[in-house]
Each structure stands twice: as structure tokens, then as C-alpha cells.
Symmetry: C4
Subunit: 286 residues, 4 copies
């Protein structure tokens, strides 16, 4: 009996932490999101010298509060899940571990430079936000569009990289070291900076021939930038019509689970305006 109550307690906690369907689960996610954002802002502000020095104690206390909360959350996740090892060695399990541990490490092993690097690990918590936003419908669709066009865009970017290696080597040979093109990798870096239209200007061609080649690279970049855009646009437009499929000349359209207010009939077309069963408007309250 007691064991059963304990199981219930663990089950409830599991639902709160891992599910977002219950009000408690939603509240937990919102609190977690706020704490992650707070911890990110803390780490970022602490890195600003003038602020970091003045409010040092405030940051220290804030970090400890957040770290303790994340520690509790981490152990709660381990306890409530059936196979703890699954969570511990999952992507988010490792992020949770590596973003919580630095504060403890910094407490025991204090070395200014190492501290800096370790503390920044706490920013890994930002990935958690992505997991929470997973519930937002749009991001799934967006992720699909990006995934679908990934293969094409990757090949395109690979071709751009080869172009940058050739053009970068050319610029290295033309411009020489006086203009900042000190080695082929640096020239390739400059070429990427230019072709992506970023253009820092820390390195810039000074010889007429170098400027001519640079102009050609830029004009090409202008034409090239259109290609990934065209790919994603076409891929995305295709997705828009994805609810309609054609099998052997017959059109089949995707049916949603919307229920008619009048006759409660379900399985309407996504673009249906009226119920297919009773003709009642499906948008009567809008």
C-alpha cells in the first residue's frame, strides 16, 4: 500500500516534469523556461567586466539559487524516469548535467581562466528552451521544411566552399601579404566573408586586379544567393499543398479532426467552410 502511494507520487512528478498536457506540467515548463532565461542573462551580464565586478555578490547568489533548482530538477528527472540511464545519457540529460556541474566545480577548483570556460558551459541550458518550444506547432513545420531542403542546400554550400578555395588562392597570389591576405586559409576566410555578403572590411583588396576579382566574386555571390532561397521557397510552397495527394488520378485530401458544432461530424477537409454532413458553417464563432 505504501509502495503504491510512493509509485503514485513518482508517477505524478513524472507527468509534471515530462508531460505538458496537465496545468501543473505547463506551469513547470513555464517556470523552467523563466529560470533558464534568467540563468542565461546572468552568465551573459557577468561576462561584462564593469557589471560583473560591481554586482559580483548578487550574481554569485543568483547563480547558486538557479544551480540548486537545476540540481533538484536533475535528480527529480532521474528518480521519476523508469530507466534512469536512458535519461542520463540522452542529449538533454547530458546538457542538464554539463550546465549544472560548472558552479560546483568553480566552488572547489578556483582558477580564473579555467573558470571562465567552465562557466560558459551553463549557457548550454539554452538548448532546453528549444525542447520546450517543441510544443509550438509552427516550429515543427519549419523544422520539416529545413530538413527537406537540407540535402540540396548542403550540396550547394559545398560547391560554394570549393569556389571559395579557388578564389581565395587566386586572391592570395594576386594581393600578397601587404593587403592582409597573409595565407591561403586567411584568403579563403576572406572569400567566404565576401561571397556571403558579410564583408567585415578587416581585409580588403588594394590592387586593381584584386579589386576586379573581388568585384567578380561579389557579382557571382549576388547571383548565387538566389539559389538556396529558390530551393527553400519551392520546398516550402510544396509543403503548403502537402494536405492534398493524388493516387491514380483520384484526388485525396487530408481530413482534420475538427468537429461540427451542429451534428458533431468529424473528418472535414482542412479548407472546408461548411460541414459535409449537415451544411452548417464551421466558422460560426469567428
Amino acid at each position: 500500500m505504501e509502495k503504491d502511494s510512493k509509485y503514485n507520487w513518482r508517477q505524478k512528478l513524472h507527468d509534471i516534469i515530462y508531460e505538458a498536457d496537465t496545468p501543473a506540467g505547463k506551469s513547470f515548463d513555464v517556470i523552467l523556461l523563466i529560470l533558464i532565461l534568467a540563468s542565461i542573462i546572468l552568465v551573459m551580464l557577468e561576462s561584462v567586466k564593469s557589471i560583473g565586478a560591481r554586482y559580483h555578490d548578487f550574481f554569485e547568489i543568483g547563480e547558486w539559487i538557479i544551480t540548486i533548482f537545476f540540481t533538484i530538477e536533475y535528480f527529480a528527472r532521474i528518480i521519476t524516469v523508469k530507466k534512469p540511464s536512458t535519461y542520463i545519457f540522452s542529449f538533454y540529460g547530458l546538457i542538464d548535467f554539463f550546465s549544472t556541474i560548472p558552479q560546483y566545480l568553480a566552488f572547489f577548483f578556483i582558477g580564473s581562466n579555467a573558470l571562465l570556460t567552465i562557466r560558459a558551459l551553463r549557457l548550454l541550458r539554452v538548448f532546453r528552451i528549444l525542447k520546450i518550444t517543441r510544443y509550438v506547432g509552427e516550429s515543427n513545420k519549419l523544422a520539416k521544411a529545413i530538413k527537406d531542403s537540407k540535402a540540396k542546400v548542403s550540396i550547394f554550400l559545398f560547391a560554394v566552399l570549393i569556389l571559395c578555395i579557388i578564389a581565395g588562392t587566386l586572391m592570395y597570389m594576386i594581393e600578397g601579404e601587404e593587403s592582409g591576405f597573409s595565407s591561403i586559409p586567411v584568403s579563403v576566410y576572406w572569400c567566404i566573408v565576401t561571397l556571403t555578403t558579410v564583408g567585415f572590411g578587416d581585409i580588403a583588396p588594394v590592387t586593381p586586379l584584386g579589386q576586379l576579382i573581388a568585384a567578380i566574386i561579389m557579382i557571382m555571390g549576388y547571383g548565387i544567393i538566389a539559389v538556396p532561397t529558390g530551393i527553400v521557397s519551392a520546398e516550402y510552397a510544396k509543403d503548403q499543398d502537402a494536405s492534398k495527394i493524388t493516387i491514380d488520378g483520384e484526388d485525396y485530401v487530408h481530413m482534420n479532426t475538427q468537429a461540427c458544432e451542429n451534428c458533431n461530424a468529424r473528418k472535414h477537409r482542412d479548407d472546408a467552410l461548411f460541414c459535409h454532413n449537415c451544411g452548417h458553417s464551421l466558422f460560426i464563432n469567428e
Copy 2:
């Protein structure tokens, strides 16, 4: 009788100020547009030191003329509207107030620094232009396209921001303070500057590893820039076909209110070339 004539006078003024259908209303809008543009140019030129000092008196007189006109307009709007409080606390009412008041404040409380900040408030009048351009049909359609794709683009920009935080922290750890990456917020700022392909060049990586990471960020930015473009393109293309809807396999197209010159029949298709009733060309005068 006298009250009625007064009412008529207020009604007429109301139509001139708030409506753009009558010739007088259109003239009023054009004059208002010109005066707003003149006041914006005045404020902008006054901020240029060399011009501001030489033509100080001219600017002073010009500002007073415009301010007095806007004051009269402001009170005319209050008088002619039925519920003055609705106008006063509306978005445009507040803009009208806060863009007119600085000149009076500057007259009574003269302090050079505060003056600067207050005077710039007059530029708020620029919003008025947006209200007038509301009458232009295209801008409505454009606004709709932007509004429709806002949700998707927002989520995308949020993902970009998280990417910038991670990449910015990485660059802060790699480059250190000598290269200008003095804190995580500054590094994130640099990362946004780079990923959006702006590339000021005030901060630029100098270490080989930093340049490699920067190159990866840029190549990613090049592929990423395609995504919002694809979203808006697809959304906009969808709008183009919005006049045609399909209900239960039957196509229904939007009918406009254009009247045939020959038989005066209405409700033609948006893409109709000839009258559906008499076959007369609908574009005979073009």
C-alpha cells in the same frame, strides 16, 4: 437653427479631417502629408551642426508655423469627433499630442540636452504618414502578407537568436578580449551582425580558430537567410490564389463588384476579360 448650422459646420470639418472620399478631404490629407514631411526634414536638418547653427532663426520660425498648424489640427480633431476621449487616448491621438508639445516645452524649459531629446519626439509625426498611406490598396495586401507569415518568421528569428547566443559564447571563449570580443553580450551582438550578413567589421576574429568558426557561422547564415524568404514567398503566392476556394470538390471563385459597361451586369470573376452576360469586353477603355 443656429445650433443646426453649427452642427453642419462641425460635420463638414469632421468629413474633411477624418474622411478621404471628398475632394476637400483629399486636399487636407495632401497638405497634412506635406507639412509632416516638412517638419521631419526640419528636425533632421536642425540636428546637423553646421546647418543648425547657421539657419537657426529660419528653423525656429519654420518650426513655430508647423507647430501652430498641428495645434489647430489637434484641437479641430478633438472638437469635431463625437467622443473626444476616444481620439485623445488613441494611438494617433497620443502621437499628435507628443509630437506637438515639445516645441511649447522647449519654449518654457530651455536646457540644451533635454531639448535635444524632446525635439526628436516631433519625428513621431512620421507615423501619421503611415496612416495616410493606409488608403493605398497595395499596402493593405502587403501588411496582410507580413501578418500571415509573422508567426513563422518570429519562431525562425527566435531560433536564430538562440544560435547567436551559443555561437557568441563560443567566439567569446576562443577570441578573448584582445580582438574586441570583450564580453558575451558583445560577442552575441557580433554574431547577430555576422549572421544577418551586415558585417560592420568593428569587431572581427583574428585567431585562426575564431576565423574558422566565423566562416561556419557565415556559411550557415547564407543557408539560413533562405528560410524566411521561402516562408514569405510561399505565403504571398498563396495570397495570389486566395480569390479561389474549393468546397467539396466544387470550385468557387471570388466575384468582384465591377459593372459591365454594356449591360451593367455585376459580379464578374476577378480575372474576367469579358462580361459573363453579354460578352462585352470589360477592358474597353484600357
Copy 3:
């Protein structure tokens, strides 16, 4: 009889100069194109100090040769056209005049600074190239696509300009004159440089708040750049289907003037693969 032969001579010359259908007309256009390009390269190279000083005599002779040819061409155009005044006061007539006259002016009135400005007028000849490329089919279609989306893009750019005025004023108030934001027009200029993702870096925010606003402007610019692209993409995609029109539910497709090799039937669909009359393949030689 003699008058008639003279008329014939003028008619022939007219065809060579104004028409591009005959072999002589095509040759004339090609020679003209080469001469215009040569004159443009001459003016450009002459402006380079080191080259301009060394090869001064060569440029002088080259310019005179080209100028004399253009003078002859100019008078030939006047003589052969029926109403000379129509040509003289046309856009290309004025360009021909103003791009030929500087060399003569420079000969009579020699003043180094004025000379510089006048000589550059010769670059107006570049417009002539546009007129010749008019014959290339693609450019007409491209011009149509740009023209169709001009209204929408203009309104969009106007909205961007208003945004730049507001953001520029804000940056002027935040950053002040130490960072280079010396006046509102300069700030607005910086804002345009940033929002269009050009990012020179001659002016860059240094205060944390200024960098935050700049980051917001850039992220917005990243989302905004998608809008004109979406407009033109949709407009261009629409043009692709322009050959097919629908009248009262009936589809009408554009017919081309291609002739079938087998039965010589004309008026095939643009996308026809086989002759509609005899079923012979229309692409037998490809």
C-alpha cells in the same frame, strides 16, 4: 531620278542605323556596342591617376577617334530620320548629344576641375548599350516582372524608409556624437546601411544600449529582406503561367507561331510536344 537614288541611300542608311533585322544593321549595332564599351573603358582608365598621366597622348587620340565616329553617327541619325526634332529631343538623342559634346568643350574651354565633370558625361553612352540589349528577349520579360512588382516594392521600401527615420533618430539620441552618429541624417544613413545588410562599419554603435537597438534593427532587417523577395518571386511565378488564361470556366492557352515540320500546321500550344494536326513530334531535331 537622282533624288530618288538619294532617297534610297537615306532609306538604306536609316535601316542600317535604326533597324537590327538586316545583316548590315546587326553589324552596325555590334560595332557601335564595341565603340561604346571602348569609350567607357577609356574614360574609366583615364580617371586612374597613374595610368592617366603615363598614357595621356594615347587616351587623347583614342577619345578623338571615338568622338569623331559618334559625331558622324549623330548627324547620320539626324539626316536619315524623317522628323529630326523627334530624335534630337528623344531620351537617346539627348544622351548622344551630351556624351559627344564634352570632348569638343574640353578642346575649347580647358579647366582641370570642370574638365573632370564634363568628361564623365561621356559615360552616359552606357545607356546606349541598354537600348541595344533591348533586342534580347529575356530582358523584356525581366523588365515586365520588375515593372509589375514595382508598386508593391515601392510601398515596401517607403515603409522601410520611415522605419529608418524612427530607428535613426533613436540611435542618434542613444549613441551621441562620439560614436559617429553626429546628426539625425547621418544616423538615418547608418540605419539604411545596416537594415540593407551592407554594413560599412565606418559608423558603429559602441554603447551597450546602442548595440542592442542595432541588433534588433538587424534581426528585423533579416526578416524584412524576405518581403520584396517574396513579392517578386510570386509575381514572376505568376508570369510563368501567363500563357494560360481562364474565361468563364473555359481554359484558353496561348498559341505560338511554331510550324510543324510534317504538315506545316501552326498555332501550337507553348508546351506542345507533338503537332495537334498530324501528331508529328515538334522536337525531332533536338
Copy 4:
């Protein structure tokens, strides 16, 4: 008999080198790809002064190993092909020759400056990678999309170039030499840098009028960047539907060679989900 065995040996080697269908051929391509990448990284790293000086001997040995492999590969290609001259004077034959020879030349004729230029020729091997990636299906489709829109994008870029010449000359006349606009070619170069939104910032307008013109150029560039994107998007979207053609009102869709697992029927639609013959799912293993 011995001659026949020799022929077999040559035939086998030919298949390994020139074909990618057999396991041995695939392995050869992968090894070749790795060696090319290794040689590219070697040349790039060698150009970095600090690394090049320290690990000079390592680079020397590495280069000789790779060069000897490429020499063997070059002669193997000549021996196994039927008409050696066809390979030797082909594009890839010349690249193989010119990317292998520098190491031998550098061994016999040692001159530091000339060496630099010659060694960079080894980077030509990067083209080989493109040839290997030829087998990746997507790149063919991408190449087709770029090829289809090449004509339109070229004309567009030509119009942009003319615009840059006019705007560059204008900027040269307005800004003068103090701002870095030292000659018309440099001004045109700046104009290309600006219009393509690269914006190095090594040259930037300082006069108010120059900044105004620059702002107009940028706003134009912002609108113009949409055009090639629109072209490629439309072209790419068209390609997506290329599997479906319409002849005389009847739709014909492209049939693939996929075989049904159940009844072995072939020639299904590209978008078929079930076998048209037996109704068995075509995606049973996915």
C-alpha cells in the same frame, strides 16, 4: 593468351579508375577524394607562415607521397584509356597534369617567388572533387536549375553592372579623392561592394550628398536583390512539376521504374503510394 590476360588487367584497372559502379571503383574514388582533400589542406597550411616554417619537412614528405600517388594515377589513366590523347587534352586531364607537375618543377627550379605561384596550382585538384560529386543525384538537378536561370540572371547582372558604372561615376564626381574614391574604376568597385550588400567599409562616403546617393543605391540594391531570387525560385518551382506534362488537354505524368514488392508491376507514378495493379503499399519497408 598472354596478351589477352594483359588486356583483362587493363580492362579491370580501367573499370576501377573510370567507373564507380563496382566496389573497387567506389573505394578508388573515396581514396582519391581523401588524398585530394589531404593535398589541399597541405597546400593551405603550408601557406601559413608560422606553420609552414615549423613543419617544413613534414609538408615536404607529405607532398612527395601525394605527388607520387597522383603521378601513378596519371599514368594509369593514360595506359588504361583507349585513346590516351582524349584524356590528356580533356579538362580533367589537363588539371591532373598541372596539379601534379609543380612538385617536380619546384624540385628542379627553386626560386622562392615563382615557387609560391606554382605550388598553388596544386589546388586545381579541387576540381576533381566536383567530378566525383557528379555521382550525387541532387547536384545534377541543382546544376540544371542554375543552368536554366543562367540567361535571365546574366542579363540581370549585366543591368546591375551598367547601374554600377553610372552610380560609380556619380560618386567619383561627388566624393572626390579624399574619401577614397580615387578613380572611376575604384568608385565602380565601391558601388558593386555596396549594391551587393557586402559593404567592406574600406571606402565610405563622407559628404552629405555622397551619403544620400549611397543610401539610394542601397535601398535600390535591397529591392534589386529580390529579382534573381524570384527568377531562380520560379525556375526551381517549375522544375518540381516537370514530371507532369500536358498534351492536348490530357495530363501525362512521369512513370518511374520502381517495382511493386507484391506483384512486381512497374511504371508507377512518382507520387504513387500504392501499386496501381494490386493496391499493395509501395512503402512497406519504410
